[in-house]
Symmetry: C2
Subunit: 171 residues, 2 copies
Amino acid sequence: MSVWETIRGKRAVRVFSDEPILEADMRRILDAGRRTQSGYNSQPWAFIVVTERDKLQRLSKIGRSTGHAAGAAFVVVLLTPPPNDTYWRDMFDAGQAAAYMQLTAQELGIGSCPASVYEVELSREILGFPPEWDLKVIISFGYPDKSQYPQRPPKAGTRKTFDDVVHWEQW
Amino acid sequence: MSVWETIRGKRAVRVFSDEPILEADMRRILDAGRRTQSGYNSQPWAFIVVTERDKLQRLSKIGRSTGHAAGAAFVVVLLTPPPNDTYWRDMFDAGQAAAYMQLTAQELGIGSCPASVYEVELSREILGFPPEWDLKVIISFGYPDKSQYPQRPPKAGTRKTFDDVVHWEQW
């Protein structure tokens, strides 16, 4: 699939089928994240991949909208540095890595959805990551549940229009 | 080109040829940014597209590494909200939009490179955007200068290894 078709067809997927994901596909998704560009090549991220069902269920409770993790084939826990002088750049770069992973998944037919984390210390307890890493976002991955996502294009109209977003030459 | 091939072949392009870019291609790149997902669908961005040479030259001086803007076919000025309670999420989402635009460009054979902005007030003077928007990143786009970027794969080895980045099930 082309990049443009992948972007045009992308939708948030929060309900997943039981179909397992090949390890090769998981590794490709993670490798896309690893390869992402970053400011001054800082690579301000580490990934914890979770596939164990009981752990996924615990992770589903670390935010207000993390519920979809419970049924995911796997979750990528996207660790980032704690707030610092160039924090904006770390989070910008983490966003790029999320996009690379999710578009790579989409091309493989694998749906995904990110969610904000509110319970960092609980997450730390579940996953054991050290204080030099913070956690703001997890991403659930899995094949879409076909009863929830029939073959149809995603609905349009929830984005601002092109002319609302784009200014030419100046504001 | 597939998403995966596009990601694998991606390199930062900072020196551009004079070849103009079709308006349809520019619009596709911008539309990819517009379509990007964002937390709670907040779409925390606005884009100013700059093609005028004198303006590009002025923009090349708004940061330490913005020099490449002077020779770009066009620059996308990626406006984001000023720091706020969920600033991390705005910057995360802006990073996703940057990735969508740059991967869409790469598929079209158009190179790009982002750069951090340090002179926000000077940028505001050049572009006229209002106080409710802040500026951290611009992205230069253009066809790669063939004398600088001969047909060869990008060099490997500047990224952390897969095993350095990826942890399985827990830290």
